[in-house]
Every structure is written in structure tokens, then in C-alpha cells.
Symmetry: C2
Subunit: 395 residues, 2 copies
């Protein structure tokens, strides 16, 4: 009889696993994932870049690399992603990760001991809650509103809990799609410095803006070097390549590198080099300009369908970008029963809200919809089905 | 002032970092790494496979995948790697990892709590020692001889420590190059079952055999489902692709998948698909037949040079495969001073033995040489330099 460590026994994967399974069913119209549109991928460009890399740098592509990451992708991130946002980094400030998920995981490894208190937006990314459970952290939710994390509550919680680690998704947040306001970004940086707390700023969606003006990162207001900025190429180039970046002070990066040595030695070279070449060819800005209208159409289509198909009194967010809309149904629906009916009887999938909360009872009548993964036609059909499913259940 | 978690403060990366830095110097002849020969890579084949994958399966290559891994690579592992060794696995028995390192890390995540006692060969893979330090495990060394881990001492240590986790590299071990004998493989499985311990069988070198007969894995003798078999494509296809596999009971795989969800969501798809296609095309057996003589020549060259160039009384192993030779110098040399002289004055690198031991004082006069990464000519030149360096220091 094998006995598992507390670390993995504390984590309940069911919510995520269930969604994965559903997405495998081709008949299902899925609003459940967090996937970019396959129509946004550029396989021909990737193929041509890969050919060139394997022709010109074959040994480097196939041999071991360093834990810090492929230098050209760190340089390309610094020049093409960070600098245009007013962020100046050197190579020592950046480590490449196997997707943003690893960036979150390494940050937790480096800063959160078992029993430590950490602060998160409520609701927040469910995989991060899993990671906090894995290390045995005490997770305290911070209240949010239309402008994201409420900094008055953040201050109160920093004061009352002594937490020294703040996890936030400031832009087009997962799951709500909400964006932290400019003044609050400044205030989060100020409070973190004042209370000697580290901020893990998870910002994978920031380049997917369809309306409104771009905002600076919390990192732009970091005067003491305690903000860890996590970016990803998953939503802009390809999630399957699993390449993300962490930018922080060299002191922090050194510890993240130690944690990464103990995690996967280094990120696969070819995917790193593909992202480096894609960026250094200057392909990202035009790509983002091309995909934004496509995503905006999907977002607008879904918002219109919510009005048309979902029960009266359904409350929902109106994001300016990203991948998600967050909805709250009137009354006291049984969300798991709704998911069962929607997926099994109407072949449409969504994610129930409960797993995004520290206290799942809070999310009972909420759910998350992803609008980026399906075409407008499929969104309309899927929302019709969802409306019927909810009609059956919400009486 | 940022305060780091005990996890990363417990890990001292210096030994590994130092070697990485040295390998970056092109003038240095490096016997320090654990890299396969670049001459063994097949970039043209990889390029052709990648072209086909990005042409025929573009969406699948670039979109998110499942945590368990790309099904074709799990199927190919089962058919082309496991079955020929007499191991029968189903898809539920296999998870794909981002290199073997992640397989070790996930196994520790799933089974080792802070303060738990674990057993390892002495000496053992230094990165694994780093991982055990990271989780705060109590690491107890088990004595080894020419036939690998001594099972009488393993039994005694299981008895005396109550350890429930055994880490072993049974074939062409890192750092010694030694191989666990057949009878001991059977005995390790038997003892692990008897004492209700889990065995992490780390076997990345098993397919690199240059003489002698292949041996079954410890997993072949696993009757209770407590052996975790870690394999890797790093030493046979390419380390830069970062693809490895873990084979264990479905109950264990489920927990490893939970840990992996919290680590990097999934391994990059393209590298997984490249390995799958490489295997299903049946390219591995002929590749191994081709590289074995090349590696054997490098091994034999280095063994001859040890006799010729190194101080009399130098003791060393004579591996039948893998990448490493383990040496012990006579007297009481200062190994760090030796490394300094060798690298700075003679431009040749090796790895001091101390970091491979739980108690570094044990490894004072030992060191590891990698023979796979350099050509026979460079091996002869490098060993001459090493002889001179040791001549300067060992008086």
C-alpha cells in the first residue's frame, strides 16, 4: 500500500480534470478551456523558423541548455515585450519557464513555506489555488470589484494576516476578465513595498486587448524590487510550445533558477528558439493587430448571446480583452447539475465558479465562459444550448 | 528585503552552476557535463519529422495538450521502449515528463514529506540530492560496490531508518558508471515490497550499452506496484527536447499528474510528437547500434589515458555503458584546488566527487569524468592536460 505525501493529497484535481475530459469530446462546444483560437496560430511561420533553426543551429537546438534559458529569447523578451511597456531588464533579471504555470510554481517554491499566509484575488486562477494547497499555504482571499483587487481590503489583510506574498492577475483576470485600475496598480506596488511583501504579477493576457487603453504593469511601479512579473507566449504565439518568462531582481531570479534546476533542468530549447526568432523578426505586433478583431467579434458575440439566451437577472462582466467572461446566475442554481445537463444533454461546456474561490461555497451561482476558442457561429449555437440547459434547471 | 522559503535556501547550487559556467568556455575540454555527443544527433531527421508534424497536425502541435502527455509518445514508449524489455504498460501507467529531472521531482513531490527519511546510493546524482534538500528530506546513503547498491546495507537501512522511499540509478550509474547486478535488482524489488517502500528507478542510460548483456529493470521484478520507472529520451534522441517518461501503477501516475499540473501543466507538444514519430518510425534501434561503437571508442580511449596520464594509484571504474567514469586519487588531494588548476591553467574540466555524497567529506579524493561529449582526439589531449594538472598538485 503506497502512502502519498501531504503535498499531493492536499490537492483536489477534479474540477480541472473534468473540464479536460469534456474538451476531448468533439461533439461538445466548449466554453470551458482557456485556449487561444487555433485560427490564431501560424504553423507555416513556425515551420519555416524551425527549419532554419535546425539547419543553422542543429547542435544548440538538440543539446542541453542552461537553466536560465536560451539567451536569444531572454534578449527578445527584454527588447520586444518588456521595453515597449516601459520596463528595462537585463539578462540577469529574466529566467525562461516551461509556461507561465512553472513561473507561478517556482515563485511559490521560492517564497512560500508550509503554513505561510498568502493573499489572492477572490475569485482567482484555480491552478494557483491548487499550487498553494500543494505547499500547504494558508490562502486568504482579497475582495474584488469591477476594478479588480480592492486595495483597501488588500491593506487590511496585509495588516491583519502578516501575509508576505500576494498573487494577482491584474489584466483581463482569470476567471473574471476584470482589469486592475491604474491607481490600484500603483497602490498594490506601494502597499507591497510598505509591508515588505512579494507580488507575483501573473500577466499572460495583457497583450490581448480589444478595446480601451493599455495599462502599465504593477512591475512598472516597483521601486524596491519585490514584484515578480510573469509573462507567457502561450496566448500570443502558442500554448503548446510551453514558453513563459519571469522578470524580477537578480537576487530573486537566482533563487528561481535554483528551484527550476530542481524542477526540469531547463525549458526545451527548440520552443524557446522558435519564440526568440518569432519576436526578433518583429512578427508579434502585426500578429496581435490581426487577432484582436477576431477575438473582439467572439467576445461581442458571446456578450450579445448572454443577453439573448441566458436567464433574466444573469449578471456578467464586460472585459476589454483576454479570454474570459464571468457570470452569476440569479437565485440558487445547482451549478454541478447545470454542468451535467449542459454537457450531457446539450453538449456545451463551461467551468463552474466554485473552484476559483478559496471558500467554494462563495462561487455556487457563478461560472466562467471562454469566448476565444470557438467561432462566432459555434458561440451562438453553444449559447443557445446553454440557455436551454439553464432554462431546464433555473425555475 | 525579500525573505526566501526554506525550500530554496536549503539548496546549494554552486557545484552544478560552476560546471555550467566552465562548459560555456569554448577553449575548455570538458569532461564535466553529462551530455551525449553532438555527433549522435540527427537534425536532418528531426527537421523532416517536424516539418511533417507542423504540416499534418498544426493545431495539435501548437494548442494546449493534456497533463498526462501526447498519447502517441506514450504509446510509442510502451511499444518501442518498454515491451522489448519485457515490460507491459497501458496508457494509464505512463505520464510524459519535461525530462527525467521532472520525473524525479514529481516522484519526490508525491512521496516525500519534509523530514521523511529517504535512501540513496552513495555516491548518487547530485541534482537528486539537491531535490531532496529542497523538500527537507533526511537523506541516508546506502553503501555501494562494483555491483552497485549493496542490498545487505539497503536491508539494514530500511530496518533501522524506517525509510519508505528508495532512489536508485541501477544502470551505468551517475556518477560511478556502475551497474546493479541482476540478483540485486531482484533483491531491491523484494526488499522494497517487504518494507512497503517505493522505489524510484532512474534509468536514463540503460540503452547506452557498449559491452556485456542487457539486464532487466528493477521494475521487471515489481510484484506489488511500488516501483516507479523513469526513462528519458535525453541520452538517445536529444536532451534539448526535454522529454522523459514515468511508468508506474495508475494509482501513482494519477498523483504524479496532479503534481505535474502544479508544475508546468504539460510538456511541450512538438518535442513529445518528435520523439513519438522518431520511435514509431523504428529509428531508435539502428541509431543505438550506430552510436554504441562511437561511445565505446571514447570510453576505451579515456580508460587508456587514465592508465597513461593520471597518477599511479588512481582507482577508477570500468563501465559497460553510459557516460561516466568515476575515479579516486591516491593520498589526500585538494580537489577544489585541482579543479581550479585544471580549468584555469590547463583548460580541462571535470566534476569533483564531494557534491555526489550526502556527506561531502567522503568524496574528497574522488571525481567524475564524462567521456561521451568529446572526440577521442580531444579526450587524449584533455587527459594529457589533466595529468599535468594532477602532477602539479599531487606530490
Amino acid at each position: 500500500m503506497v502512502r502519498f505525501a501531504g503535498r499531493v493529497n492536499r490537492v483536489n484535481p477534479s474540477a480541472v480534470r473534468e473540464i479536460f475530459k469534456l474538451m476531448a469530446d468533439p461533439d461538445i462546444i466548449s466554453f470551458g478551456g482557456g485556449s487561444p483560437a487555433v485560427e490564431s496560430f501560424e504553423p507555416a511561420v513556425i515551420r519555416e523558423i524551425t527549419d532554419e533553426l535546425l539547419t543553422l543551429r542543429p547542435d544548440a537546438m538538440l543539446q542541453y541548455g542552461t537553466t536560465e534559458g536560451w539567451i536569444p529569447v531572454r534578449e527578445a523578451y527584454i527588447e520586444h515585450i518588456a521595453r515597449p511597456k516601459g520596463l528595462e531588464f537585463s539578462l540577469d533579471d529574466v529566467v525562461v519557464t516551461t509556461g507561465s504555470t512553472q513561473g507561478i510554481s517556482l515563485s511559490i517554491d521560492a517564497f512560500v513555506n508550509e503554513g505561510d499566509t498568502v493573499l489572492v484575488e477572490s475569485p482567482t486562477f484555480l491552478a494557483t489555488l491548487m499550487m498553494f494547497n500543494k505547499v500547504g499555504a494558508r490562502v486568504v482571499p482579497v475582495e474584488t470589484d469591477e476594478d479588480g483587487m480592492r486595495t483597501d481590503d488588500l491593506k487590511a489583510k496585509l495588516e491583519s494576516t502578516g501575509a508576505r506574498f500576494i498573487y494577482t492577475i491584474p489584466t483581463f483576470q482569470n476567471p473574471t476578465g476584470r482589469t486592475l485600475s491604474l491607481s490600484r496598480r500603483r497602490e498594490v506596488a506601494r502597499l507591497a513595498a510598505a509591508y515588505d511583501a512579494v507580488v507575483a504579477e501573473d500577466d499572460p493576457y495583457c497583450d490581448l486587448r480589444y478595446s480601451g487603453e493599455p495599462l502599465p504593469s504593477i512591475k512598472n511601479f516597483d521601486e524596491v524590487g519585490n514584484v515578480i512579473l510573469l509573462n507567457s507566449f502561450s496566448k500570443t504565439i502558442s500554448p503548446g510550445l510551453r514558453v513563459g518568462t519571469v522578470a524580477a531582481s537578480p537576487e530573486i531570479i537566482k533563487k528561481l533558477v535554483v528551484a527550476k534546476q530542481c524542477s526540469d533542468t531547463h525549458t526545451a530549447i527548440l520552443p524557446q528558439a522558435i519564440c526568440a526568432e518569432y519576436l526578433s523578426r518583429g512578427l508579434l505586433p502585426s500578429h496581435l493587430t490581426q487577432v484582436a478583431p477576431m477575438y473582439k467579434e467572439r467576445l461581442d458575440t458571446m456578450l450579445a448571446c448572454i443577453e439573448k439566451e441566458l436567464p433574466e437577472g444573469t449578471d456578467y462582466t464586460r472585459p476589454e480583452g483576454g479570454l474570459f467572461i464571468w457570470l452569476t446566475l440569479p437565485g440558487e442554481p445547482d451549478m454541478n447539475e447545470l454542468l451535467r445537463v449542459a454537457t450531457q444533454e446539450y453538449k456545451v461546456a463551461f467551468v463552474p465558479g466554485a473552484p476559483f474561490f478559496v471558500d467554494p461555497s462563495e462561487g455556487r451561482n457563478a461560472f466562467r465562459l471562454n469566448f476565444s476558442g470557438e467561432t462566432p457561429e459555434r458561440i451562438e449555437e453553444g449559447m443557445r444550448r446553454l440557455g436551454k440547459a439553464f432554462g431546464d434547471c433555473v425555475r
